[in-house]
């Protein structure tokens, strides 16, 4: 019985052992250490970005994308040129037609005048 009471007392004393606790503080020059950490983190961010970019998979994907864009642009330009050429040719043909009409008309006119 006494043992049980002793245990109860010890438990209560242990639960109250943090009463009057003083606040702990980090070591001196904490702010300086923090500044060093912030600087390191900033450098790490840049180095992690550069290491991400220079990863073989990322680099290859990036270069392939740029090449693909170039090829697409080339095809688009080529197609654009062809359509432009076709429309130019159409224009030329229609002008030629007009010219032949004009020239045949003038021939006709000349002939009628001669008569």
């Amino acid at each position: 019985m006494q043992e049980k009471i002793d245990i109860e007392k010890k438990v209560e004393a242990t639960l109250n052992s943090l009463d009057g606790l003083e606040k702990a503080s980090p070591g001196p020059f904490f702010f300086t250490r923090l500044q060093v950490r912030l600087l390191k983190e900033q450098n790490n961010r840049w180095s992690s970005i550069s290491s991400f970019i220079t990863r073989p998979a990322v680099a290859i994907a990036g270069i392939s994308f740029i090449i693909l864009l170039n090829v697409a642009a080339l095809f688009y330009q080529k197609e654009h040129k062809i359509t432009a050429m076709l429309s130019d040719q159409n224009e030329i043909t229609s002008t030629d037609d007009y010219n032949t009409t004009v020239s045949s008309n003038s021939y006709y006119d000349e002939n009628t005048e001669a008569r």
Partner: protein, 191 residues
């Protein structure tokens, strides 16, 4: 200078304001982290992480709660993350030891002695911290904030983003769990 002005100055990139913030709240953050982690180096590491986050995400602080409440929130979540990581590591080390890949013996961490404990209570406080380690995470946070930081139930509810009655119930369960563990502990030491 009041905290709102300090926060505004930090938002505009004032380094002096950041130093004042760190000087004002470093003990509070460190003491909380130490209470939860029970390891001085980890607590220092977490304190640095907390202020690093404050520096980088001060624009995320809208001022809906007190600045200290925001700091307590960051500290407790970072400490919990740290604890979970170290538990995972321990579990992994245990598994590799079972498999036989790692022949190192697992060492039990030494008793934690909080530097702010009254000298007469040193041994009992070490036993209590050992018992606190066994508590579930949210009970551990609530109990530490109450006993180590001396926060009221209302303040704890703001930090943990819950109701006062939930905090009461958390602390009640924490104390009864601790009582149970301590009783077993003292019974074993007597035997």
């Amino acid at each position: 200078m009041d905290e709102r002005t300090l926060v505004e100055q930090l938002k505009s990139g004032d380094q002096a304001a950041f130093k004042t913030i760190v000087d004002t709240w470093q003990n509070m953050v460190y003491n909380t982290a130490l209470g939860i982690m029970q390891h001085a180096e980890d607590a220092e590491d977490i304190t640095q992480e907390v202020f690093s986050q404050v520096y980088q995400s001060i624009h995320g602080f809208k001022g809906d709660s007190k600045f200290s409440t925001w700091l307590y929130r960051i500290t407790s979540s970072k400490a919990l993350d740290h604890l979970r990581r170290s538990r995972r590591k321990k579990r992994f080390a245990f598994l590799t030891r079972l498999i036989g890949e790692n022949n190192e013996t697992m060492e039990n961490p030494p008793d934690f002695h909080h530097p702010g404990v009254v000298l007469d209570n040193k041994e009992q406080a070490a036993v209590l911290f050992k018992a606190i380690e066994k508590l579930p995470d949210n009970q551990r946070i609530a109990f530490t904030l109450n006993k180590v930081e001396g926060l009221s139930y209302q303040e704890i509810s703001e930090v943990m983003d819950t109701t006062v009655s939930s905090v009461e119930s958390l602390l009640h369960r924490a104390k009864s769990n601790l009582r149970k563990w301590l009783k077993d502990f003292y019974r074993e030491t007597i035997e």
